[in-house]
Subunit: 398 residues, 4 copies
Amino acid sequence: MRTGINHLFIPGPTNVPESVRQAMNVPMQDHRAHDFGAPNVGMFRDLKSLFRTKDGHVLLFPGSGTGAWEAAITNTLNPGDRVLMARHGQFSVLWAQMAQRLGLNVDLIDLPWGAGAPISEFARLLGADRKGEIKAVFVTHNETATGVTSDIAAVRRVMDEAFHEALLFVDGVSSIGCLPFEMDAWGVDLAVTGSQKGLMLPPGLGILGVSPKALKASETATMRRAYFEFSDQVKNNETGYYPYTPPVQLLHGLRAALARIAEEGPENVIARHRRLAAGVRAAVKAWGLEVCAESPSLYSDTVTAIRTPDGVDARDVIRIGYDRYNASFGSGLGPLAGKVFRIGHIGDSNEGMCLTAIALAELCLAAAGATIQFGSGVAAAQAVYAQPAIQAAQIAAE
Amino acid sequence: MRTGINHLFIPGPTNVPESVRQAMNVPMQDHRAHDFGAPNVGMFRDLKSLFRTKDGHVLLFPGSGTGAWEAAITNTLNPGDRVLMARHGQFSVLWAQMAQRLGLNVDLIDLPWGAGAPISEFARLLGADRKGEIKAVFVTHNETATGVTSDIAAVRRVMDEAFHEALLFVDGVSSIGCLPFEMDAWGVDLAVTGSQKGLMLPPGLGILGVSPKALKASETATMRRAYFEFSDQVKNNETGYYPYTPPVQLLHGLRAALARIAEEGPENVIARHRRLAAGVRAAVKAWGLEVCAESPSLYSDTVTAIRTPDGVDARDVIRIGYDRYNASFGSGLGPLAGKVFRIGHIGDSNEGMCLTAIALAELCLAAAGATIQFGSGVAAAQAVYAQPAIQAAQIAAE
Amino acid sequence: MRTGINHLFIPGPTNVPESVRQAMNVPMQDHRAHDFGAPNVGMFRDLKSLFRTKDGHVLLFPGSGTGAWEAAITNTLNPGDRVLMARHGQFSVLWAQMAQRLGLNVDLIDLPWGAGAPISEFARLLGADRKGEIKAVFVTHNETATGVTSDIAAVRRVMDEAFHEALLFVDGVSSIGCLPFEMDAWGVDLAVTGSQKGLMLPPGLGILGVSPKALKASETATMRRAYFEFSDQVKNNETGYYPYTPPVQLLHGLRAALARIAEEGPENVIARHRRLAAGVRAAVKAWGLEVCAESPSLYSDTVTAIRTPDGVDARDVIRIGYDRYNASFGSGLGPLAGKVFRIGHIGDSNEGMCLTAIALAELCLAAAGATIQFGSGVAAAQAVYAQPAIQAAQIAAE
Amino acid sequence: MRTGINHLFIPGPTNVPESVRQAMNVPMQDHRAHDFGAPNVGMFRDLKSLFRTKDGHVLLFPGSGTGAWEAAITNTLNPGDRVLMARHGQFSVLWAQMAQRLGLNVDLIDLPWGAGAPISEFARLLGADRKGEIKAVFVTHNETATGVTSDIAAVRRVMDEAFHEALLFVDGVSSIGCLPFEMDAWGVDLAVTGSQKGLMLPPGLGILGVSPKALKASETATMRRAYFEFSDQVKNNETGYYPYTPPVQLLHGLRAALARIAEEGPENVIARHRRLAAGVRAAVKAWGLEVCAESPSLYSDTVTAIRTPDGVDARDVIRIGYDRYNASFGSGLGPLAGKVFRIGHIGDSNEGMCLTAIALAELCLAAAGATIQFGSGVAAAQAVYAQPAIQAAQIAAE
């Protein structure tokens, strides 16, 4: 029998803070009542602030991040449109697969899993696209499968340098709310996330930032869609209502989550993720192991994907963690299965939780056959966490 | 300030039973853990039992009933397919609108709001369709806007009599789990519901019964879809898993809700809805008012739509109920706005709740200007509810 | 199987508002942390305001109202002290029994169950007590068993007129927070309540108002006590802490409950209780039945005790309510068993809840053999509740 | 702002398991309903099984462990009775203080804080008490302030060897349910605990095991008591009811907690506490620090009290833990303030939680000025936790 806390170190669904959990524990209510909408108006405003957009919209689709991906595509593109995508992890692979299923003509750039977005290759292809055939560039901001954060500002730069007018789609599922994200400043047209990551809610909402340009595109885009139609949402959201029954519990939770982020301060949330991640990476280094990400500039501050040593099956690490220590690590996905396990340090977290992850990972790695000096990773992380918070975040950022 | 219980008489989201509410109050968990799937396998089996299907599947889409509508269409039909639909209430109107948006060629039969499915017109059109151009018949089992239950068995009969092979789509959003529903016996191919009605959960799940014939159709259907793709679900569900992050709280709640239904007995759930509805209708009769449904054979046992007398705005009834008595009645939708208010008696309910609805409706009707004898509707309902439960259900069924 | 809401019409534990329920759903915390006390300081201030005392203290004992009774006695009286009490209901009987068990010399005035506090008899006895042998007068403000509210101000008046210095003990378990209560103005020295009545919390706290005079008495009182010692509480409470582990969930709930009362306004809470009670009494009158209380001036606005007609066993009414209609009425206690059932309209309530109680009571009375015209009581209550709130409260007060 | 889990390492209130938390989240109910008692009958049986008593009773007093202490004394002893007690920690000090307040004549044996119960001194005094003047021996099974577990079986042995008939009182607040406890086999007459320790509930219940001999004594004992009267409880409990309003939420929680213990197996619960404690003590040893307990045979498996090095204020350790790392360590009580901090490993715990405590303690000790090698304690604990569970428990027991 499992006892004690289930140590949840997967990169989503993330740990739900108590205040959010409390807020969701409500009886049902009339979603057409005259006072239902008002609190949501502020909520949409706060979401826009979180996405860092002034004139864009943030839409909430009952569903998942996958649903928000689909909404982004079907509302703004036309069948057969040429789009540019890179595959360098499970989630970019799935996204590309969806684009193809939905009838897009996808220019695929295949990269090693662990690479970031191929900025110069994007530059080359966009520059070569004199006729403007490429209608959209899709970028995975934070590849949850590999723990790689790509440079969206750089993508925007090469698009601008090519004077290219393609739409910029960004998968921010495991970044928005945790990593710096600038929808307006980076010229992101479609920004996707879900409720169960940085927003610290249970799964159930696909969340989508839509730029004015994307909204404009949706007026003429001819892909078939109904459930995910932008205009129904935009029209209803203005007064805080929905085109169909919304998941009322999650709306209560979302407002509580946004209140928490406001209380901590979005920049402090980002600094906290940086500090906590730095500790985890210090531990990996102390163990003598490698992370998936190819270079430090790609390190994700929300999830670390750790390669197990040769001969050590990462699935054993995960299974031992779950069965023996009531701990849930993220698994290696696709070709990384058995080679990688992941520690999520995303959402509502703190130093103690990361140290628990590290200490338990040491036990699990050892039990799975790795040569690990007990306490070595913990000590390395402690050295980071011993710094006063602000200083540690700076160190970590270097 | 509102005090006391919010009396929720809308026909969905319905009142969540305490056992379901408890079950949902869980921390997050790893949806890829090796023991995550097992409890869901039984859950899918119980869902099939609730839908009364042996060889069909029941799929769960994070989203809403509207999403399940879309899943049903995009997986089984082809662009431009001719389909048969009737419009006789807000939800059939919206469904038809979706079918058109998704590119179907919809044969529309417009009926008064309050009518049931046009069986003989269906018979005529299906009989005339010698070439089998009609690919699907869409029927709203229980029109939530008008409180009308249509006869699905009769639809199947005329389809069979015409030897017609169209798929039969049924919107069972406000019927499945509460009214008799026989997916296999009635030859229903696509049966749609949501979590927030008879299943007594918060909104957040679109639930879809899929017959073997429909599943077969999905293999070749060419409408574009990704999020709502059947095959991804079917493949994953077999072991109790999902193709994307499932709403884990709702899964816990769904299992608890199915356990409740099993404990009460599905036939007792149906009898209870019949008995409670009979009391509400007796009250309406005692008031001298009319329900929307055109004839007794169409009366819905899950929701009663009540026409206010001339000169009495139903919106006033609802507003007074909400502002003065902390009660939520359903509103008149579309052309019924201001003319109708609705009492939901669906899901987790009992005699006291229906009597509350009736007693408060009397206060609100009077305050809105109707001539209502206080207590008259209550007395009529009490006469029904005074019967022993089984007998009352029989009376009600007559 | 029970379905729908359990209609809880007992006079305590009362229905817990959702905001209070949410607030209590917390993980454990360190009750010695440096920030644990601060929120409680405000809570104690709000409690004093609720008790209407400026210089008194309000103490919280983990336990029940019964425990607070004991705390009041053992801290302020000496073994063998002569005290004055009346017995006119189950709770005054139990209180007197406790006083005797604890070694007091109790002057008992036995009255019919349904009578109020015997003001003139108190006057006579106090006047006759030239030597000041009577050390305390015990009065049950609201006898929950009979639905009788006594006039505490009048008791104070006769004490003052006799220039008597006895302590005034008041059982305000089912009055404080719902009925007018003036600790200072009425010169109440010990005011007892519990968490599960007007404060709308689960049971678990005995709450005790202590006047400066009572606190002074506790310094020299020689009854043995430890758990209930005032001085330990007073000393710790000043900074918001406790002499032993406090029930942390209830503290969270209590703060939320006090916030609700503040939001509604204490005078509005009182007016609401008056209005709701007036409706219930109108129903009883319409049924042709009698309440326990001997005269209108004694009517309780928090609970109504209803005498069943001859030949109708009140226990049947209650049993039918519980087994057939999922409703909980209060039972007749002691000699009233079988003769009385009670409707609590205390705490977090509204018109719909009272109408439910009345409508279900009609069904249960009829099923138990009473001749009741269905809807008659409901109609009478509706006539009261149809008035705008303020006006109804005035009518009810007349 | 605090983020992430509050790491609660105080020795009570302990972490509440999710299943218990769910079970407590209930609306109020009628505690006099005819089906209220039945589930409690099984609960009392399970409690007896937990206390390991066949013919004794286990009583539940709304209140706290302190209240149960008082109940034990006032029901079985007489004013002026001579009793034997040792003081070797804050809780034994407070217990002795209560005994004196309640009018007992207390033979006090003062020992260093860190000592166990003075078996041989007890033997000497009991042997010398030829007239049987000593009416009771009070022993603190597990001194929560010092982390010392005393040998109750040995106390019973010396009582038996002296043919002494005194009652044996045992404070099992932080032992029962976690450490081996044998009420019948050890001849314990009064066994005290609270809800918020090994029973993993919020505070709010004082729980008291009463032997037949103690119950017999209560029939003639002359101390005044009312709230804590045994006979009222015993009589009502037989059918699962209570003499006054019980804390219904806690009863739901208690049943869930007992179900957990039964599922894990009481002997496995004990083994788990032993294993987890062994890891914590290994860490303390690795740090080069001392625990309070004077010798290994006294080590408590539920709480470890750790002496900080000279010059390091334990209050700083605790404050840093709370303010910087959202962690709650137990403080040094009374004369140990500033010299000791405590780690609770009691109740619903696991390896990860203990490793978190150790890792954070290292950070806090270092920040407070101690010379601590980061990771050293963690590594020592990991070495214990790396063993398969059963083996580790054996090692720990050696």
